[in-house]
């Protein structure tokens, strides 16, 4: 739940979560377990194909939501079920309370439903005097504690067995042992009478199949079976997004949902209910059944060209499972009711700007959620978009407006960078800034920040510009600001690697920052302007490739620009040509220049690798860098969690330094554990983060950009 009024309060909550040892360990354990379990569950299956099919089918269903609703309603009503449509959360609560009243209900048992959480159903029913008992073990635990869930699938993952034992001792007025097996049995016995007494059961549903009229419910514990069988009234509550045209589509979702959620091939129970079934406790021997569909903004979302994709979500929770930020701070700090990447987005639509405004800033844009989403939703992009909308609604902050203004004006920006070099003079020593001015230094002490280089790459270029006779490729080099002004040596190294291998390099001086920092800050208009400037500077008509050594720039130039300008008729063609030609350094060296063992010296020492988020997921480049390391005569020692974010995230590390520091610490721990001498990566941002962290620690491990290590090894 979100209570913080501003970023400052939110950061204080984050710090508190970081200090929760148990939470940290529990989340860490799960984060390490999950990727392997998921991979095993999907072994031999075409996951991407399935996800693509689900996305397509869900999009189609969303577009016909009204029609599907009417068809399902007709089908279910033919079987005696009463079907309701609630436009708002309040309406849904009132409908359900009215059903309870009409049937003279006193006690209600519930099985798990995120939709019920969304509308605060228990709260409403309890205020109306009903006794409501959650029967899913995790939900029951958090209900007894008066909390919200901290994971969509594992709502009580933040609690220890000790806490549960204490809680159950209180509930039973008997001392309970701290033994999970036994505690589970206590819940079994304590909840059984609740099902028996209850007059009404409320369940969620994972799908409503239009062609059959049945609803499908996925659970592991079996509580939904009792909830939908014992009481005389059954109310099923679900979002309109759960309407599924055919059983085949429902079965397809079922192939992915449990595998993606917890790495299970299927959940223990899937229950299909169609119509008024036998029910001995009902006066006429048949269940009184109601289905309540919740709109609450869903039909508006369905009509939005950008956001309709959030309706694809099958609530598997995987986007939280892999999120490095969620892993650090847990669900109560990473969502309001819905948590994880999808939670950041849904909070804005279902619970409002106030609850969402801090959350959406807390995304490092690592893309892990998008890569794992069961429905192929572009979650990081939507999070950024919401951030931008909130800025437009609430007003842009002064620093953000300033940065936007500066970036739009390349000359001003570069002049500022040059004068920053002068300003830092008394502070810099040995290439690092040792004493940052107080203002900048706030909470940045976890890493040393690099100094601005004596000469930017653009000043070096005229001198080092190589002559290539009868070149095979014409290549435009895009440096990005970090390599231009902080690490020009990385670009020089790249020039040395590439020059002799048949590529004619060009470095147009009108290029500027790629614009990703302003996207991260939600300054979309500035981002568009910068994109136009860069496309003008690196005219795709002139080059075979547009090469960049910065993974973040590459991913933004290739995918981000298309999103920014792809719909603008004046730019659509150019931006597409431009995007097609963008290539990262490792792919260029490996796939285009085809550098192999014969090009390199042997015995270059031992290295490990950090895969930049925007390279391994953003561009899907995974093998080229690792093959290059092996080919270049290096002893490559893979490290654990090589593809997990290093915590840089550009402006993220300035806004949430505590989180950035934690991510960095874990990353360095894994890298150092390999015993390698050098840590290689493919992005100057990552270099900055990793080098700064190792320097601060006084570690002997060195950090090199791929271009630098290849330049060292090339014959």
């Amino acid at each position: 739940m979100q209570h913080a009024k501003n970023l400052k309060e939110y950061r204080a909550e984050l710090r508190e979560a970081l200090g929760d040892e148990f939470l940290r360990q529990a989340m860490d354990k799960f984060a390490r377990f999950y990727p392997g379990a998921r991979a095993r569950a999907f072994a031999g299956m075409d996951v991407d194909g399935l996800i693509h099919e689900i996305a397509e089918a869900k999009d189609k269903a969303a577009a016909r939501m009204d029609e599907l609703y009417e068809a399902f309603k007709a089908k279910a009503e033919a079987a005696g079920v009463v079907v309701h449509l609630a436009r708002t959360a309040r309406e849904a609560n009132e409908i359900i309370a009215a059903i309870a009243k009409e049937n003279e209900v006193k006690r209600i048992v519930k099985s798990k439903s995120m939709t019920a959480e969304e509308i605060h159903l228990n709260h409403h029913l309890e205020a109306e005097g009903y006794e409501v008992t959650e029967t899913d073990l995790g939900e029951w635990i958090i209900q007894l504690r008066g909390e919200g869930p901290t994971h969509m699938v594992m709502p009580a993952i933040h609690l220890s067995r000790y806490q549960v034992a204490d809680l159950f001792s209180e509930v039973t007025h008997q001392k309970q042992e701290v033994d999970i097996e036994k505690l589970v049995k206590v819940a079994r016995r304590e909840l059984r009478p609740r099902y028996i007494e209850a007059e009404m059961g409320i369940s969620g549903a994972n799908m409503a199949v239009v062609e059959t009229g049945a609803i499908g419910i996925v659970t592991n514990e079996g509580n939904a079976r009792l909830v939908t069988t014992l009481p005389r009234v059954h109310v099923a509550l679900m979002g309109l997004d759960k309407l599924t045209p055919t059983l085949a589509e429902g079965l397809r979702v079922l192939r992915v949902l449990p595998r993606n959620a917890t790495g299970q091939a299927i959940s223990s129970y899937v229950t299909w209910i169609n119509g008024r079934n036998e029910c001995a406790s009902s006066p006429d021997g048949k269940k009184i059944m109601h289905i309540v569909f919740l709109d609450n903004g869903r039909s508006a979302l369905a009509r939005d060209p950008l956001f309709s994709q959030v309706l694809r979500c099958v609530r598997c929770g995987a986007c939280a499972n892999v999120c490095p930020v969620y892993r650090l701070v847990g669900g109560h700090r990473y969502g309001h009711i819905y948590i994880g990447a999808i939670g950041l987005i849904l909070t804005y639509f279902f619970h409002g700007r106030d609850k969402a405004k801090n959350l959406v800033q807390n995304c490092i844009n690592c893309g892990a959620c998008k890569a794992v989403c069961a429905a192929g939703i572009d979650l990081p992009m939507l999070i950024k978009e919401i951030h931008a909308r909130i800025l437009d609604e609430e007003g842009h902050s002064a620093p953000s407006t300033l940065l936007a203004a500066v970036l739009k004006n390349r000359k001003l920006f570069h002049t500022l960078l040059r004068s920053a070099k002068l300003a830092q003079k008394p502070l810099a020593s040995g290439g690092y800034i040792r004493h940052l001015p107080m203002l900048l230094a706030k909470d940045q002490g976890f890493r040393t920040l690099p100094a601005i280089a004596a000469k930017p790459f653009r000043d070096l270029w005229p001198r080092i510009r190589p002559e290539t006779k009868s070149p095979r490729y014409r290549v435009g080099l895009f440096s990005g600001c970090v390599q231009d002004f902080v690490y020009p040596e990385q670009c020089v190294a790249a020039v040395n690697v590439v020059a002799g291998k048949g590529a004619a390099l060009d470095f147009p001086l009108d290029q500027s920052c790629c614009g990703l920092p302003v996207v991260m800050m939600g300054e979309i208009e500035a981002a568009r302007e910068v994109a136009r400037q860069n496309i003008r500077a690196l005219d795709p008509g002139k080059y075979d490739y547009i090469l960049t050594l910065c993974a973040s720039c590459a991913s933004h130039l290739k995918h981000g620009y298309l999103k920014l300008l792809g719909d603008d008729p004046a730019w659509a063609v150019k931006v597409r040509q431009f995007a097609d030609k963008v290539i990262d350094f490792s792919s260029f060296a490996h796939d285009v220049l085809k550098l192999g063992p014969e090009d390199f010296r042997k015995d270059g020492g031992s290295v490990t690798y950090h895969a930049p988020c925007h390279l391994c997921r953003g561009l899907g480049v995974k093998d080229a860098p690792r093959d290059l390391l092996r080919d270049a005569g290096l002893d490559y020692k893979p490290s654990e969690e090589e593809e997990v974010c290093c915590g840089f995230g550009g402006t993220f590390s300035m806004k949430f330094p505590e989180l950035s520091a934690e991510l960095l610490a874990k990353k360095l721990e894994h890298a150092e554990a390999t015993g390698a001498q050098t840590l290689v990566t493919d992005c100057p941002g990552c270099v900055m983060q990793l080098r700064g962290g190792l320097e601060k620690k006084g570690s002997s491990m060195r950090v090199k950009h791929m271009a630098e290590i290849l330049a060292q090894q090339i014959k």
Binding site: A26, F30, G44, M45, A79, G80, D136, L137, G138, M154, A156, L159, S160, R161, T172, H173, Q174, K182, V184, K185, V186, R188, R189, E190, L191, R192, P193, I196, E211, T212, G213, A214, N220, E221, G222, R225, L226, T229, L230, L247, L251, R255, T262, Q264, A265, I266, S267, S268, Y269, V270, T271, W272, N274, G275, R276, N277, E278, C279, A280, K287
Partner: protein
């Protein structure tokens, strides 16, 4: 991946992977004997159902006390089969019922039911549970002993689509996919079986 696997073997492997106990039987008679045997050996010298030995609230305890003897619930069997089971149960002093499941909500020891289909790739049982008695027997039993004809096993849910559409289109109908025992990992992600439903799922693969 499992393209060419024999579905019965695949089913066996996958069901075992989710902690189901799978046994091949040659006849219904053998299946009945198996159920009686499991009932006999279950918690050899006590009648309690699970959780009743823990310290409970008064209400929880009161429900435990409603169970006075060992019970086998076997709704939906052909009459001769039920008669055979019942006779065997009587010899052992065990109550065998085919209806009135709501009288036994404190818990029954064994639920003995027939299964409609099996899905090999996940080790899943498909059970037409339109009858409330049958539904409850599979939910409140401590151990669920389920008999599945080998010829009813298909490799994937896609191979069963027509049958599933037929089952779930009936109005009213209640169709259950059951895979392994009732489970939870809600406390510290430690797997615990038997949170609300059966603690053990025994699958008898019947030759036919």
């Amino acid at each position: 991946m499992n393209e060419s696997r024999n579905p019965v073997e695949l089913f066996e492997e996958k069901a075992k992977a989710v902690s189901a106990l799978v046994t091949r039987v040659a006849s219904m008679r053998e299946a009945v004997a198996y159920a009686l045997d499991v009932c006999d050996t279950k918690q050899a010298c006590q009648l309690l159902v699970s959780g009743c030995s823990e310290p409970l609230s008064e209400k929880g305890q009161a429900l435990c006390e409603t169970k006075q003897q060992k019970v086998i619930a076997a709704p939906g069997l052909p009459p001769e089969l039920f008669a055979e089971l019942e006779a065997g149960a009587r010899e052992r002093g065990v109550l065998c019922v085919e209806k009135g499941m709501r009288e036994h909500l404190g818990g029954v020891d064994i639920g003995f039911t027939l299964v409609d289909f099996g899905i090999a790739e996940t080790g899943t049982l498909v059970i037409n549970s339109n009858s409330e008695e049958l539904r409850l027997a599979t939910m409140i039993a401590e151990f669920h002993v389920a008999v599945l004809s080998r010829s009813k096993i298909r490799e994937t849910s896609r191979d069963l689509e027509a049958e599933l559409a037929a089952l779930t289109s009936v109005q009213p109908s209640y169709t259950a996919f059951v895979t392994g025992a009732s489970r939870t990992a809600d406390i510290e992600r430690v797997l615990a079986l038997g949170v609300h439903g059966p603690l053990e799922l025994h699958i008898l693969l019947l030759e036919d």
